[in-house]
């Protein structure tokens, strides 16, 4: 009891700040006042100690609101992205690093707070963090991924009882509840909070927040435009991010006659008449980004965003899928052996991509990446897994088969060309017929 008291935050000093921060949060997230109030009521007192599962459509402000509330209440927080932390070890170590404010850097040899590969070590680390910081909060984003790892989910849901301390607050954030929710959680105590989709008036309010980025002379025109825009787009699409993006783009197109000096910005009637064809055209451009007018443009944008080892993996996978294994020696061997047998002529690349083994992919990767010593590292496997998740590589062997994993390359050729151009890899020697 003494320990509990000693770790309480000095509430009387911070109450004013908290209220101010929460008010700021309400202004920042219009339409989310009920959710902010509910989260505040459930999180303000560590003793309430109810694990929360927050769900709602993408772009409904779940993570933003939660982080804002936790920041306003000054609760020690560890944010865990369940896509990035795919293994339990990665998840545990990342959590402990954040809770113990440990930052792996050059000075400490990029070592984590503690190596942690078992749930018992993780629980011990958490208990230490609770002792040091009073109460802690673990925020699991993209929690839908956890449904695929039942043992990890069971451990995370049981954390308060494993730590024997109620001051471990857990928050899971996902778009939808886990499939077969109660079976997946084994009826664990979880309070679900739903972030509903925005209504038309709330969307309008959100879009009007962007009025600050508009020239002051066009502000009133923008307000009128937003009403029309919502009226037109609300039945079709309710994705806030997309609507904000499209709204800015269409507004710029709509105001072109004003910029050209053909129409005055105060001539509301003419502008509104001009709006309808403008908005109709905009529907076809929804979910299409700049640079995406041509597939090649899309690929080049995508290719530049990949890490370098992923780029070389794509090239290696492309080569492995185009040539049969018997060609490897001729194509990728470091030194050519002079055998007395008649050397085989290189066959033409296959029309349909061929399946290939993982070892072969690694061998070709090592061959094409001559600049660095390419070894099979964990990082490489992580990138490989990411490519499989992105459906660039498809696993053709069964999941249960541990030996001889076979893959198939399914990315379009445009992407390979864009990647090869980006890393200055010459594909022409491999495109013979």
């Amino acid at each position: 009891r003494e320990m509990k008291v000693s770790h309480k935050r000095p509430r009387s000093e911070t109450v004013g700040d908290q209220e101010e921060n929460l008010e700021c949060l309400r202004r920042q997230w219009p339409g989310r006042e009920p959710e902010i109030a509910r989260l505040t009521a459930l999180l303000v007192e560590p003793d309430i100690s109810l694990p929360l599962f927050v769900h709602g459509p993408s772009g409904s402000g779940k993570s933003g609101v939660i982080r804002g509330v936790l920041k306003a209440l000054q609760i020690p927080l560890a944010v865990i992205d369940c896509i990035a932390c795919s293994t339990s070890r990665h998840l545990y170590e990342s959590t402990l690093n954040q809770l113990h404010r440990h930052n792996p850097r050059k000075a400490n040899g990029y070592v984590g707070w503690s190596p942690c590969d078992s749930s018992a070590t993780f629980v011990a680390g958490l208990r230490e963090a609770i002792t040091a910081r009073g109460s802690i909060c673990l925020l699991f984003e993209h929690a839908a991924e956890l449904a695929q790892n039942q043992s990890m989910l069971a451990t995370l849901l049981a954390l308060p009882s494993l730590c024997q301390d109620h001051r471990v607050q857990m928050l899971f954030v996902a778009e939808a509840p886990w499939p077969d929710f109660h079976c997946a959680t084994r009826f664990a105590p979880l309070i679900t909070i739903a972030f509903a989709g925005y209504t038309a008036s709330q969307l309008q309010e959100i879009l009007l927040l962007d009025v600050h980025s508009i020239e002051s002379t066009q502000a009133s025109a923008y307000r009128n435009f937003v009403k029309l825009f919502i009226q037109y787009f609300y039945p079709v699409c309710r994705d806030v991010r997309e609507l904000r993006h499209v709204c800015q783009k269409v507004f710029a197109t709509w105001m072109k006659p004003v910029r050209d000096g053909l129409v005055s910005s105060k001539d509301t009637g003419t502008l509104l008449r001009h709006a309808q064809p403008c908005l109709q055209r905009a529907v076809s451009s929804i979910y299409v980004r700049e640079g995406g007018a041509t597939p090649a443009g899309l690929h080049s944008v995508y290719a530049t965003q990949l890490p370098s080892c992923s780029k070389y993996l794509i090239i290696a996978a492309h080569l492995a899928s185009r040539f049969p294994p018997k060609m490897d020696k001729a194509l990728f061997a470091a030194c050519r052996s002079f055998s007395t047998r008649k050397s085989k002529r290189p066959t033409t690349p296959a029309e349909q991509p061929l399946a290939f083994a993982l070892e072969r992919l690694m061998y070709i990767y090592a061959a094409v990446r001559a600049d660095v010593s390419a070894r099979e590292t964990a990082e490489l496997h992580v990138q490989l897994r990411a490519l499989i998740q992105k459906k660039i590589l498809v696993r053709v062997s069964r999941v249960g088969e541990l030996e001889g994993m076979r893959l198939r390359f399914s990315a379009p050729s445009g992407l390979v060309e864009a990647v090869a151009t980006d890393v200055n890899f010459d594909l022409t020697p491999y495109s013979f017929t």
Binding site: I130, L162, F187, V236
Partner: protein, 603 residues
Amino acid sequence: PSSPSRAYQSASYARKCHASVGPSSTKITEAPCHSDLGSPNRQIPRSQIPRSRAADAQQPAARREASSQPVSQFAQLTKSSPPAYQVLCDKLEPSTRPFCGGVGGARDADGRSSRCVSAADDVTFQADETNVEPVAAETVQMARREVLGRLNQPRAESPLHSSAQAEVMEELVAQLRRTAQGIENSSALLIGPAGVGKFRLLRGALARFGASGENQARAECGSAGVGKTPGGGRASGGEGGAQDLSESEFISVHLHPLLIPDDKTALIALAEQLQVSSAVELSRCVSFCDGVRYILHLLRRAKPAKQLEARRESQAQPVCIVLHEFERFAQRPKQTLLYSLYDLLQTAEAQLAVIGLTALCDAPDLLEKRVRSRFSGRMLVVPPLNSVSDVSMLIDSALALPPSMPSRYASLWAHHVRILLKKLDQCKPLRLRLQLGMSQRDVLMAVRLLIAELGPACPLPSVGAFGRSVEQLSLQSIEQTVRELSNTETLLLLCLKKILDKEIAPPHTFAIVLREYASFVSEYEGAGGVYDLPRAMLTKSFEHLSALGLVAVSTVGKSSHWLPLLEGSSLRLLVGSSTLHSIVRANLRLPDSVRRFGSSWLQ
């Protein structure tokens, strides 16, 4: 006696199961709970009772006294308050007023969860309205902390038992007593739904045998900083109290499968909790069974006891090994841990009880033959809460305030709690939930939610607020999710439903859905209409449906690897026909064309 016949076991099991749902539960409910369960409040010397527990001890007497007085006497307390209350009530938002606005309507502006307000609520409202007066924020905060502090107490100490579990408790105590007296080594399974209070019950049973379980728990929790009452576990209950005190106390060892991945770790945990880890050399242990024998040998040496007649060493204290989530141990290959422990029970070397806690009623079927033959087969079914009176008793003990609270507020609180308990059987969400099965944990979660909502605006608990808390325990209905979809997404769902109803042979792919969508556009809208949308838009909308869990996308066949995610996948609708029908019929925001399309074939 160590291995009763199967027939007895099955009969006992059936009787237990019947007791959990049958009419005998009424009898249990009527029995005075404190005398049955041996509540620690009555047995511990007054000086040792912590503040909040002392309050509990005093509370029943105070309550009896208060209940004997007519309500009019209480009304005198608050006669001067109506003007102040009106001012307070006017300042409140309709949604935060206790029972004020929105009777029979939606709880919030978005109408996401409809509030259950019955005629009983109206009655309560009148009662509440005349009695509530403004309360200082600090007082409400103090009350919140007191109640939450009691709810967060370590489980054996909190006096939150349900009367329905009294019989199970007695049977468990009798079983443990046989081990404590050296008659037999016992093994049993406590079976019950998650959150029903199996662990709490076991801790309570162990606490009857002395302070050992508590000391052990304190040693475990020490680093985490959870405070415990010194000597709080030395309590005995009811009739067998004096007898229990003379018996040896148990050393409890907790093994949790999530923290113990293998047998070696289990040995370390066992040695650690028996406080002989410094002397253990794991390299000497060939197997888990050897290791446990060696550890028990060390325990006998560390705490020597009187020698038995045959000059055998005996344990000074019996050991109770608690296997949490028993089914996870049973699902491990070879079940070495379970086999070793149950095998050890058959020998005279150890004085041991092995109690498993599980939520699976068929957990014993998971055991291998060699393990099952060593397991006694005793299964104690811990029943969930059956009736409103159980819930009422639980809430009563959870919401009791200590006498340190300001007397005026405490009396107001007690009055409101009484009204809450009185009107509890008219709380519709609670009755619905009880029909589905409600555990102690569910009730306590609802109490926590109720406490979380308390504030200066709503300073006292009420039936309506409790009903809303119970509603919050449930998942959001899928109908609500569908209602929030855009018209395009609703249309795509209807298209998929129409394909299913047409009984087109599976796999139902996205291409077929798009074809159906195109036929809708041509029939109801015409080219160039609002819903004549590009494919990218429709694909994105469908992905959104998949992300919200309304449609399941699964890949089929090898050919699907060559295609983007949706193209070669088989689609499965996860929304029921009635839900879609009600959406089409009742959602006035849907345009006419979509409603006509939906109602053209949906029945």
